[in-house]
């Protein structure tokens, strides 16, 4: 089966600046791929190359097996939703949604039917006669999604669609997007975000990007539980990276200081520098001197309601972040605690 979306060695340069290093990527029909990374990681550029808004310096873009690299955006038939909504301010909601259908010369009755259908789908049916400026941010984004869906695109591109909304609304919208997703089983979604929780909630697979490059791609579970790259582990779940030495070739035994630990190797080659990825909630924090623990200085304590976040400093100035449910029996800032690292943490390649 041909992939719905395929990028073959697509790179983008603006003058001397490299915005995207050669990228290979395929997305299957009906799949949701999240492109996750910090700003400047090239994720939005990849999306723009896909939509035809920027021309790749090299490589080919394929949709359903057809090479569209040289096609302008209006002939690619993709749905696009952007962070700023980009609704047409002088048009009512219904006219915004009808825009693409009219551009495609759809018969009038069909336009009206389709506009009503997609507006109902995003729960905005009652707002058809409003102007965009009369809607809240969340409502505007729903309309923008309806506008993109009206043309029945095979592929829907979402570029940071929830980033302009406040936190509570963002969570509602994730639930909403999941519901929409279930209604559109054949639509391929490419979702660009810097928010790991959105990516984990929505995506089948995640492509982690950094410095204009693809770092790692895999299913959410693979990347969360068994990341191969240190960047993935720290970006997706805020892992501590604890530098260790390999004891045996397969990486199942490692050494930190004088202590041996068992690790879960993820295909790291011997000779590279490696680190253990330890999530904050898996770091054990005990009273000073507890057997099998490393002494650590408490640098900072933040109360987070459901628990405490500790900034700790191990011998050798390694910073470690830990999360504990309570501070009972633990000293305050400036005190010393014992830190233990559980067995079986993933062994990661450090670039």
């Amino acid at each position: 089966m041909t992939a719905a979306v395929e990028l073959r060695g697509v790179s983008v340069h603006f003058g001397q600046t490299c915005a995207l290093s050669p990228l290979d990527l395929t997305v299957a029909r009906g799949e949701t791929l999240a492109m996750l990374g910090p700003s400047g990681s090239g994720k939005s550029t990849a999306l723009k190359a896909l939509a035809g808004f920027v021309r790749p310096s090299a490589g080919r873009v394929l949709l359903d097996g057809e090479d569209v690299t040289d096609l302008p955006p209006h002939r690619r038939g993709l749905g696009v939703v952007v962070q700023s909504y980009a609704l047409f301010p002088h048009m009512r909601v219904a006219d915004n949604v009808a825009f693409g259908l009219k551009a495609k010369k759809t018969p009038r009755a069909e336009v009206a039917r389709r506009v009503g259908e997609v507006l109902d789908m995003v729960g905005m049916g009652a707002y058809a006669r409003r102007f965009p400026r009369e809607l809240s941010g969340g409502q505007q984004q729903r309309v923008a999604i309806a506008r993109a869906l009206a043309i029945r695109p095979n592929v829907l591109l979402l570029d940071e669609p929830l980033s302009a909304l406040d936190a509570a609304l963002r969570e509602d919208m994730v639930a909403e997007l999941l519901r929409l997703r279930a209604e559109l089983p054949d639509t391929t979604l490419v979702y660009v975000t810097h928010d790991q929780s959105e990516a984990l909630a929505l995506a089948d697979r995640i492509a982690v990007m950094c410095n204009s490059e693809l770092v790692e791609i895999g299913s959410c579970e693979e990347l969360y539980h068994r990341p191969a790259q240190a960047f993935t582990a720290s970006f997706l779940g805020a892992s501590n990276l604890i530098p260790v030495e390999l004891i045996n070739a397969d990486g199942s035994r490692v050494r930190f200081g004088d202590t041996e630990l068992s690790a879960s190797p993820t295909g790291v080659v011997r000779g590279k520098s490696v680190a253990l990825g330890v999530r904050p909630h898996r770091v054990g924090v005990h009273a000073e001197g507890t057997a099998g623990s490393f002494p650590a200085l408490v640098r900072g304590i933040q109360w987070r309601g459901s628990g405490f976040r500790l900034d700790l400093e191990l011998a050798g100035a390694h910073e470690v972040r830990a999360e504990v449910p309570s501070m009972d029996g633990l000293p305050g800032v400036g005190g010393t605690v014992g830190v233990s690292i559980p067995d079986g943490c993933p062994l990661l390649a450090v670039p």
Binding site: F53, S84, F88
Partner: protein, 266 residues
Amino acid sequence: MKARLGWLLPPLLVLLGFFGYPLVLIVHQSLVSESGEFGLSVWTQVVTSSEFVDAAWRTLSIAVGATIGCVLLGTFLALVIAFVPFPGARALSKLVDTVLAFPSFLIALAFTFLYGSAGLLGAGGFLYSQWGVLFAEITFYTPFVMRPALAAFSQVSAAQLQVAASLGARPWRVLRQVILPEALPSLASGACLTMLLALNEFGIVLFIGAKDVITLPMLVYTKGIVTFDFPEACVIAVVNVVFSLALYGVYQWVAKGGHRAAVDAA
């Protein structure tokens, strides 16, 4: 309350002294005939004269023609500067601002050198006709449309244009349905301003020296300064002021978004 009045009074007096009083004088003068009678006799005499009717008609048609020409040319040039990437677009946009600062007669003078009977590209009587004046006014006033047009076009976000294209709209449709409607209030206020200025244009007409192109401001000048027919000059001046004020009202309404309000109400 008293303090506020104290602050208000001086500027109010200046306003009345320098603008109100002369205006009242002009209106009063227009109502007094040469024999000293007070009434509308001068008005009926002027308003029914073919000289006045011709000048009013000519003034209006030149102003309307110049406005249409400026809007078409200005919108086109602003579109090119705003949306067609080429080196020097920014410099060109700055140049537009510079032209706004020029006195209008400079254009007329340059035209005389270029197209006048002794000019480089002298084309006979063309320059000294109504068309010559129209051509010069379009040249001079086009930047007055381009400036607001450029400002409006820069407000249209790249994301809107990209999304419109992704929805299947060709560039022509994007221009017609996204860019121009969003810029319409700015274009309309630019057009009003141009028409207002063209209606009162004096320097260009005078400097081009087209003998047969008598506009209302030219007529005021002739009556008031050349033939000392003061009451008649005042009547024409008052008519010109009324034209201008009416147009200024429209300009204010458009600039305040009256257009958008009307669309909302529809």
